[in-house]
Amino acid sequence: MAKLDFELPEDLKKFRIKAREFALKEITPEFAQKYDREETFPEELRKKAYASGLVDYSNPWSVLILQEEFCRVDAGTGICAVSGFFGLETIQLFGNEEQKAKYVPMVTTGKAMMGLAVTEPSAGSDVAGIKTMATKSGDYYTLNGAKMFITNGQLADFLVTLTRTSPQTEKRHHGLSLLIVETGTEGITRNKLHEKLGVRATNTAEIVLNDVKVPTKNLIGEEGKGFYYVMTFFDISRIYTAIQAVGIAQGALDRVLDYVFAQGMENLKEETVMIIGEMEMRVEAARLLTYSAASRLFQLNPDPKLTSSAKAFGSETAVWVTEKAMEITGLQGLSGDLERFFRDAKIMDIWEGTSEVEKLTIARTMFREMMKEFLGEKGGVKA
């Protein structure tokens, strides 16, 4: 009989325990609160996480579990500790050997940090609407434009940057390219953005590019294909957002259970008991959906509708569970750890594609599949 085994293998179960122990030891409530309040990046935590050997990019399942367990303790500092690689897959999948040799190891060892610069002040969900322009002349592109809400923006040693390399035409997804931009290059200004609602330890910046010269050898893959590379990347990164959201939701549920035990189970009313049941139901569903999407991805056979489902469902779960956790714990949630979980959760609904974008992706992927079936493989329907 066919077997659908939803258990993680033993080595990952053991890894989960280690990741949780590390997070509980290093990210105390006081630590998380301090970085949240001060809006600063916990560089020493990131270094410790790498030194501990827990951050292992050769094993994507371990990266997934690590993010889940870190966010379960604190999303803000937890994400900082393991997101120095943000955008790396664009180089791994589409970069040439020289680029891989130069940029991948420095990030996977934690020596350097990187970021992905796609969003612009006037183009968020509408990725193809970006205006940053790169003009080629000899061995260089000259970049002009501005990038917005860039995670790791101020700290990154290089930014994989989406830019127009030819003017926008009817086919607006064409003419976009990905360039590796080293942040020490002249003409780059990076401004840290302050006063985020949540994940306040993470570094978010606005990047202004003013006649920035980037060698043509820093072009990732082919010129004009950047949009498709970025979309492929989002199908990967959304898995990580989904698991961050699962971690936040699980962490909120942990705290609710602690609270009701401390209050005395004999005082529990049915309304609260049912909500706790529903919290567990949603968290487990979000986790399974995410693992299922991750499993497809890690076997190099990603399913965009599964990935986007995991991301949107996970985010909505994190928001819902943290809201209910606030209601149950009242004053303690308001003045303790949980209020931070509530604030952190909301970004999951927004970054890496809003829940609205995810739902469009899910439906459009299905429509494409239907069309393909209807027209046959030679029907000429392009992705």
Binding site: Q33, S125, E195, L331, L334, S335, W351
Partner: protein
């Protein structure tokens, strides 16, 4: 007051709020309400809105008071909560004695900052400290005090049940604590050491309970203001922001969700400001209005995308305050029980 007078009051409060508060609402979140803003609110008569004029107040009726709260909350929920504490908690409790009444004109004029420690009645309260009265002297520490840099503090003293006392001086706020909402007001423990006290009555917790139940419409009005402020911002934003070549408002999910929230906002407003509301109707207004504020602020933030997540756009504070409002001024299950009692005409929903 005639409906024209209510309309006039609304436009004058709105004008005041736009002129004096809106521009600095982000600063209020960072650094707290400034003394000059509080003084300006007092000069308008907001801090003594519901206090009878013979006691130094403005003597507004409940509907006029709701207008003040709603319009202030539209730009700064912290400013509205400041008014709520003075009028819905402090004033009715202080009015129990002559000496208490005498303090009201100073509260109305912002000469004395006043607060009430009601948080011991809320979900999640954990008794760790308390204030005891020994030989006519109040001493101890009270936790979870909102607007804690007050000189006049009403609290329930230790005991079973302890008296409700008014402490006049000798109150020191301790370190500011983390909290989700109403960052314009200080939130901390306070240390009390004072011989200047007035007993306002026996059974402190019972009196605080009555005061909390009595403020249904005040809480509902602030929630409505939060809804109105957040939805208006989202509507404005969705007219100006374009994506995929069209303004956000052209897309059904954006237009329909915001229109539907606006419809609920308008219906609730009509209901809340109608005459002769029963106790049950007031409880309904509180429950529905606080929930609407949470739904509306969540959607308003979402419509703003990444920008909504930052303080600059002034929408994330509504999201925080909409969650903090019921946690600090409502009592979840207890309010629902009160509503259920009215609906079922007998005790209901207690298991």
């Amino acid at each position: 007051m005639s409906s024209e007078e209510y309309q006039l009051l609304r436009s004058s409060v709105r004008e005041f709020a736009q002129k004096n508060i809106e521009g600095m609402s982000a600063k209020i979140e960072r650094d707290g309400l400034r003394p000059e803003t509080i003084a300006a609110m007092a000069a308008q008569g907001f801090l003594g809105a519901m206090v009878p004029s013979e006691l130094g107040g403005t003597g507004l009726d409940e509907r006029g008071y709701m207008i003040v709260l709603e319009e202030l909350a539209r730009v700064s929920p912290s400013a509205a909560v400041k008014v709520l504490i003075a009028n819905s908690l402090y004033a009715p409790l202080a009015m129990a004695t002559e000496k208490g009444k005498e303090t009201l004109k100073d509260v109305a004029s912002a000469k004395a900052n006043a607060t009430v420690v009601h948080t011991s009645l809320l979900e999640g309260y954990r008794e760790q400290t308390g204030v005891a009265v020994v030989n006519s002297r109040a001493q101890g520490v009270k936790d979870y005090v909102l607007n804690s840099d007050a000189k006049l503090i009403i609290l329930a003293a230790n005991g079973a049940p302890g008296d409700l006392i008014l402490v006049m001086g000798g109150v020191e706020p301790l370190n500011d604590q983390t909290r989700l909402g109403f960052r314009g007001l200080r939130f901390s423990s306070v240390k009390v050491d004072s011989g200047d006290i007035e007993v306002l009555g026996q059974n402190g917790p019972g009196r605080l309970d009555e005061a909390l139940n009595g403020m249904d419409l005040g809480v509902a009005a602030i929630a409505l203001g939060i809804t109105a402020g957040a939805v208006a911002k989202a509507i404005d934003y969705s007219k100006g922001r374009t994506t995929f070549g069209h303004p956000l408002k052209d897309y059904q999910p954006v237009a329909f969700s915001l229109s539907s929230l606006r419809a609920e906002e308008e219906m609730l407003r009509t209901f809340m400001y109608s005459e002769g509301l029963t106790g049950a109707a007031k409880a309904m207004a509180r429950v529905k209005s606080t929930q609407l504020a949470r739904d509306a602020t969540k959607q308003a933030l979402q419509v703003h995308g990444g920008y909504g997540y930052f303080g600059d756009f002034g929408v994330e504070k509504f999201y925080r305050d909409a969650m903090a409002l019921p946690l600090l001024f409502s009592r979840g299950a207890k309010d629902m029980q009160r509503l259920s009692q009215a609906v079922f005409e007998s005790k209901a929903g207690f298991m």
